[in-house]
């Protein structure tokens, strides 16, 4: 079957089987391998993409279901070589290690902060509970998301704290 939709602002077409998941379509058909596939049954959150502004698990969505929709993947967050404020905050806070979960963390947090720029630490933790990270741990990830809120129009991050956290993280390596 042919399916047409938008990815990161570009109109795309792909020939897929009905059973092709959106994650597989993005990675294998459209060669957008930034979207990672972990569990393939909706538990780990690594494959999260944004469909018409809403974070969804692309392994639990068929490609044919997004006909005519607009998808944002992790590749769509940066402006060319310039990291988005959220990505820059992840870097500052050492919020990634192996990087496998990072695309899902970034897309989930981007959808959240776009909708709720003033999300509290508790709200951020609740939302990110759907994304598993098996190496860095969640503290630095939550700190990075808190720090990025200002760029979405939310409360200004505590930059002194942010720098301190980054310095501590660096010294620990």
């Amino acid at each position: 079957m042919e399916v047409s939709f938008k990815v990161n602002g570009n109109a795309v077409k792909a020939q897929v089987e009905p059973r092709t998941t959106l994650s597989l379509c993005l990675r294998d058909h459209l060669k957008l391998t930034g979207t990672h596939v972990g569990c393939e049954h909706g538990v780990c959150g690594a494959c999260t993409v944004i469909v018409d502004g809403e974070a969804v698990r692309s392994c639990l969505t068929l490609a044919v279901q997004v006909e005519g929709r607009s998808i944002t993947t992790v590749e769509g967050l940066a402006h060319g070589d310039e990291l988005s404020p959220l990505q820059a905050a992840f870097r500052r806070h050492n919020a990634l290690q192996c990087g496998f979960c990072t695309p899902g963390m970034l897309t989930t947090a981007h959808a959240l902060l776009t909708e709720e720029p003033d999300a509290s630490a508790d709200r951020i933790r609740e939302v990110l509970s759907g994304n598993l990270c098996r190496c860095t741990g969640y503290v630095s990830i939550v700190e990075a998301v808190l720090d990025a809120r200002a760029a979405y129009g939310g409360p200004a991050g505590d930059t002194a704290h942010g720098h301190a956290a980054a310095a501590t993280g660096g010294a620990g390596r």
Binding site: M1, E17, P18, R19, T21, L24, E40, H41, G42, G45, T48, V51, E54, A55, V56, R57, C59, L60, T61, L62, V64, Q65, E67, T108, L112, E126, V127, S129, G130
Partner: protein, 305 residues
């Protein structure tokens, strides 16, 4: 794993969808958000010949609230329920339980109809449906019928649905102001399926006695169910620490959980007792008249210790 092969159709109307589901070759399954069906396919627990995608069908995604109660179309998503502030008074147990349903990304796609048809024994909506006397509306080419939630769920992942039937809506009777209710659950990770959970409600008369007590549990049996033995301990009684304790004890004894990877049956039984006790105490404290009674409960329980 990748899902098995299947054919796919996205009809524009409900009659077309029902005709596809009734195909004589059989084994067609409806697809809405796919948040329960897709994992089932990924595990190859089912291999339907045809998926009938409901995404183009209009008018099944409304939440209607009137004097008759709450009616939700099968395509209403968890995030729609979460955002609808009217439900906090129109159906408080659902408004309270919704925060426990699944994770952020899944709440953006998972639907009411999908959850009911999937019938996971630990899922919240089926539990609320049974505890709150809901009616499930189903349709097929043969017509429509209404099924009481208590009769709809027949076991783990088993329902009263015929193979050609589609859940179209769920409706709940009107909720009077002042009714006491609470929802409690314990999950290993917020948003995961409950290890056990309970929805409770009762009406209080002027003397502080409970009537019409409903105690529903999830994750404590092969299906969501009411614990009538526990309800009987509270009905007609003044709601206080003693009657709540007796009802909780009866609830623990009345459920029939199974051992599994996450908890033993004995643990789950104990958990049901604890959750029912917490929920009843909180339901009582939440009623205006109940505040004073809750205060006296504390005193009474303080004296008895």
């Amino acid at each position: 794993m990748k899902p098995p092969q299947f054919d796919y159709a996205a009809p524009a109307t409900l009659p077309e969808a029902l005709a596809l589901l009734a195909h004589p070759d059989g084994d067609a399954r409806p697809l809405a958000g796919g948040q329960s069906l897709m994992p089932v396919l990924a595990f190859r627990l089912a291999s339907p010949r045809l998926l009938v995608d409901l995404r183009r069908i209009e008018g099944m995604d409304r939440i209607d609230i009137d004097a008759q109660g709450v009616r939700m179309g099968a395509k209403v998503r968890w995030c729609d329920i979460e955002r609808d502030a009217r439900l906090r008074t129109a159906l408080p147990p659902l408004a309270e339980a919704i925060g426990h349903v699944a994770h952020y990304q899944i709440r953006n796609r998972g639907t009411v109809g999908g959850s009911l048809a999937h019938a996971d024994p630990a899922a919240e909506l089926p539990g609320i449906a049974v505890a709150c006397d809901a009616t499930i509306e189903v349709a097929s080419v043969r017509g429509t019928r209404n099924i009481a939630a208590a009769d709809f769920f027949q076991g783990a992942l088993a329902t009263a649905l015929e193979p050609d039937e589609l859940v179209t809506a769920i409706s709940f009777p009107a909720w009077p102001a002042g009714r006491a209710s609470a929802f409690e659950e314990l999950a290993r990770r917020h948003g995961d399926f409950a290890m056990a959970g309970t929805a409770v409600w009762f009406d209080l008369d002027a003397a502080g006695r409970a009537h019409n007590t409903h105690i529903g549990v999830i994750g404590a049996s092969d299906r969501p169910r009411r614990l009538t033995a526990a309800e009987a301990k509270l009905d007609g009684q003044v709601v206080d620490a003693r009657s709540i304790g007796e009802a909780a004890c009866a609830a623990a004894g009345a459920c029939d959980p199974a051992d599994d990877l996450h908890a033993s049956a004995a643990y789950r039984r104990n958990l049901v007792g604890v959750l029912v006790e917490r929920a009843l105490a909180r339901a009582l404290a939440g009623t205006r008249g109940g505040l004073a009674a809750a205060g006296s409960t504390v005193n009474r329980s303080g004296e008895s210790h």
